[in-house]
Symmetry: C2
Subunit: 550 residues, 2 copies
């Protein structure tokens, strides 16, 4: 699988520059590419303790995303999954350290320990006060005293960072970092490996399996476990963390390892919140990509038992978007659904003429079922006739329930009836037509104008216009001609319907997916239905029975 | 590939609840699961125009992530890639609409148009003022008048949302939305398809190819193009957008379709910023996942030419993390690297005794090269002897450059020399040892104590302690015994070195990866080197030549 990169050797420097472009002027970098890739805070007066972290790249937003007020002062970046050089670390220290000194926060990997460690020595030779803490929060390998540093490192950045920002001295900041390191425990689970730029992806994990206790550099998990559901996955992870959790209120940091979707991460957050494997997890940081492993479809959970002071430091706001805040886990807030979802039934009323007119119009559609189906078979699935006839039968069956004596309410009632009984797009569009006609009628428009307003709404919502081979091609001219009488309307509808046989480039509706050859010579079934309706009204001398021209 | 979900039919509701748990109490949902999945703003007094959007899920953070102050008032969620029902949309409208009315922002898909459209009719029957705009910003299919709605929809949310929040009336908010819709153009490119939950992933795009003009529901791109670099990919996308870009200052919205890494998105941002295909792109929204297609490894760019007022509305701050701000694109801010990276060369000084002592110590290592290599071959790659001998030769060669008359500076100078000439972890650790010894010495500690301080630092940085089968096992007892003389120190070092042959569970360094059988019976080469050094000093009667016991 290819990736959106240029040359592999330029990847990290181009990505840093891209990140700096939109850093709101908060960040700078040192002028040492490609060897020295160091991002520093812009506003920094060195009277406070500087925090320098970093390591290999591929864990974005760590660490550049956490440089800023209240967290890191500098991030020293190596190439993907490779430790930065001693010179790069030293440059970072020298760039930001003043009289208050500097805390190095290092994830426990040999290269990082050594290079940060030697850089610290070289900085001390300049008289700079430097302390260094090593984060080893990964509990995956219990027998290894050298636990790896993973996402728990973020707690150190945040808590020490907030302390340093408040003006605490180096010893205080260092002690706080060490306390976090002693108390934090993390473990990850993944359903797929990551894709290292320039290298083929290793298809290591079979479907139905997950790796537990993976590293953030593509290292295999210590265990291959069965994977069933997000719920079980979260339970397994929390079970492993449980023996490491202290007493008291806890924060969970839910980290996306890079490739899990937002939907998955939200489901995992829900499972974490509902789980009782570890009691008293009261706060959550995330879910968010915080310490990723490129595009790995996985997550990690880092648990920290916090003091009141630590919680306050965790919750101090910072301007960096990549720190997702530490929030109290609340149950979802649920509101009653508003009234009105069950439509108010119209109050029935009688009007024998209108009942007869509506009934006979319905009969016209019922009678035309087979004919319209056959026409529709040319351009679709051959059900236009049945759809219309079905709706007509339902409408006819409920005619006694309609507000027949009130035209405005009648339009709305027909719209409601069609929305409930007529399927497909055409059912929705006809429902909109009658509802909108009723609205227009209620505002005092005469009938023909109200019908035109309904048609306009249908065009807006449906997106079809004249010439798009839909019922609009018959209905529009019919409504235009209607003031001259039903005969004129019927003739106009017929002309419009016949014209659709020549429209072979349908631009809307289902016919837009059909080949031109199949469409040519056949009327659009919707337009034909409109023409048949108006012709039927004229032929059956139904005009007198209705009120539509009023 | 499996995903972190439970039952597919519960995916969206569980994800919504997960998102609500950490919404800072800003969001609620309506009590209508599973049919009605509507998220609403908590603080909302209905005196302002409500903004309701939504559609199928799978595009997170759209749309729930944009519900909040200054953007949406409600998000109506369908299942993955499926339109929400009319009832759900109506519930959303009714829940948030008051006298000021409601704007529906709908992406141009038939199901969404119809369901939002009919819901609007039903809401109007309650007397609610509802207007509806349809976003069709996708330029991929130029002949289709019904362009799809994609990430450009975010501009409509933000600009209309900021206007509505400011108290503008429905007509004003609607007109602003329509102007954005007329002016925005988007297109996407992807290197891989998305994984629809519960369905197998379609491996559609070959390596070296990319789809241009894809949809956000897994629809294929309109074109399969060659993929070479991020630079070319961005150029192709901008070329397509260029004819749609108006005159004046432009904003680009750089959207991660879900599966591109942060590194890739930053590289694409850099390419976008550097490109001159479309002039005057002055502002950038993102890069961020904003309108995703599940886990698709792709991006889209949406270009909007903005008025001053629109820019101000785009830049109004909102509390939702998922809106990444609209920032001026600036060139990366670059600072000079600090002085001090090129270490100050120590000022040479002479001291014949010290020169002789150091030279002869070096000779000891040069002589032991083969012996130590052979020992190292048991537990590693057989180069410990050569590494030490090489460093010894270099040190001997530069002996005239050393500050031989000043012990403190001499330790530091040896540390510096080793950091520059001796490779591998051992080179760094010995450099740290001598540098830290120099530091301790400079603070007035006597020699043995300074050496012990150096050793302590090595243990902190390297992470190895006594019993971990490293040189520490010989050096620690040697330094402890040194006050009693070099003979005692040599004997202690020898005992320590011999003891390492029994340590078969190495906990640090390379030997921790080697099987117990291979290690048993062989001294650690680092510890052996220390023993050989002390024994050599005694045997060669070098004590008088040096000052180490002073």
């Amino acid at each position: 699988m290819a990736q959106f990169i240029n040359a592999k050797e330029d990847l990290v420097i181009e990505a840093i520059d891209g990140a700096l472009r939109t850093a709101k002027g908060r960040l700078s970098r040192l002028d040492g590419y490609p060897h020295i890739k160091v991002v520093v805070r812009d506003e920094w007066d060195k009277s406070k303790v500087a925090l320098v972290s970093g390591g290999g790249s591929g864990h974005e937003p760590a660490h550049v995303g956490y440089v800023g007020e209240g967290m890191l002062t500098a991030a020293v970046c190596g190439d993907v999954f490779a430790s930065p050089s001693v010179d790069a670390v030293l440059a970072g220290i020298l760039a930001v350290s003043g009289p208050a000194g500097c805390l190095l926060i290092v994830k426990n990997y040999t290269g990082d320990r050594l290079n940060f460690g030697l850089a610290a020595e070289r900085a001390r030779a300049f008289g700079i006060k430097v302390s260094m803490v090593i984060v080893g929060d990964d509990i995956a390998l219990p027998d290894l005293p050298q636990a790896r540093g993973v996402a728990g490192t973020l707690y150190v950045h945040k808590i020490s960072g907030a302390l340093a920002e408040s003006g605490a001295d180096l010893d205080t900041v260092t002690a706080a970092a060490k306390r976090v390191i002693e108390n934090v425990a993390s473990i990850g689970m993944s359903l797929d490996t990551c894709t290292v730029p320039g290298s083929p992806k290793e298809a290591r994990i079979a479907v139905g399996k997950a790796e537990l206790g993976l590293g953030i550099h593509g290292e295999s998990g210590i265990e291959l476990v069965d994977f069933t559901t997000a719920r079980d996955a979260m339970a397994v992870v929390l079970e492993r963390l449980k023996p490491h959790a202290g007493k008291g209120p806890k924060v969970a940091l839910l980290n996306n390892l890079g490739g899990a979707t937002s939907l998955e991460m939200s489901v995992l957050a829900e499972e974490l919140a509902k789980s009782d494997v570890i009691g008293d997890i009261e706060y959550l940081v995330g879910p968010a990509p915080m310490m990723t492993s490129l595009d790995m479809r996985g997550f990690s959970v880092s648990i920290l038992t916090v003091s009141d002071q630590e919680l306050a430091l965790l919750q101090t706001p910072v301007p960096m978007r990549d720190w997702p805040d530490c929030l109290k886990i609340d149950a979802p807030d649920i509101r009653l659904i508003p009234e009105g979802l069950t439509p108010v039934k119209p109050i029935p009323s009688t009007d024998p003429d209108t009942a007869a007119f509506v009934g006979k119009c319905c009969d016209l559609f019922i009678k035309a079922e087979a004919e319209l189906n056959a026409l529709d078979a040319q351009s679709g699935d051959g059900d236009t006739g049945s759809t219309l006839a079905g709706a007509a039968r339902a409408l006819k069956g409920s005619i006694d329930q309609l507000p027949l004596s009130d035209p405005t309410q009648l339009y709305r009632a027909i719209g409601l009836e069609l929305s409930q009984t007529m399927g497909g797009s055409s059912g929705v569009l006809l429902a909109i037509f009658f509802s909108a006609t009723g609205d227009a009628s209620s505002s005092g428009l005469p009938n023909v104008e109200a019908l035109k307003a309904g048609l306009t709404r249908v065009q807006e919502v449906g997106g079809a216009g004249l010439g798009d081979r839909t019922m609009i091609d018959a209905l529009t001219p019919a409504l235009e001609a209607l003031p001259e009488g039903f005969a004129a309307a019927a003739a106009a509808a017929r002309t419009g319907a016949e014209h659709t046989a020549n429209i072979v480039k349908a631009k809307a509706g289902r016919a837009s997916y059909i080949s031109e050859e199949r469409l040519s010579g056949y009327n659009d079934p919707g337009a034909e239905a409109v023409a048949l309706l108006f012709e039927g009204i004229v032929r059956g001398n139904l005009i007198e029975a209705g009120r539509v021209t009023k």
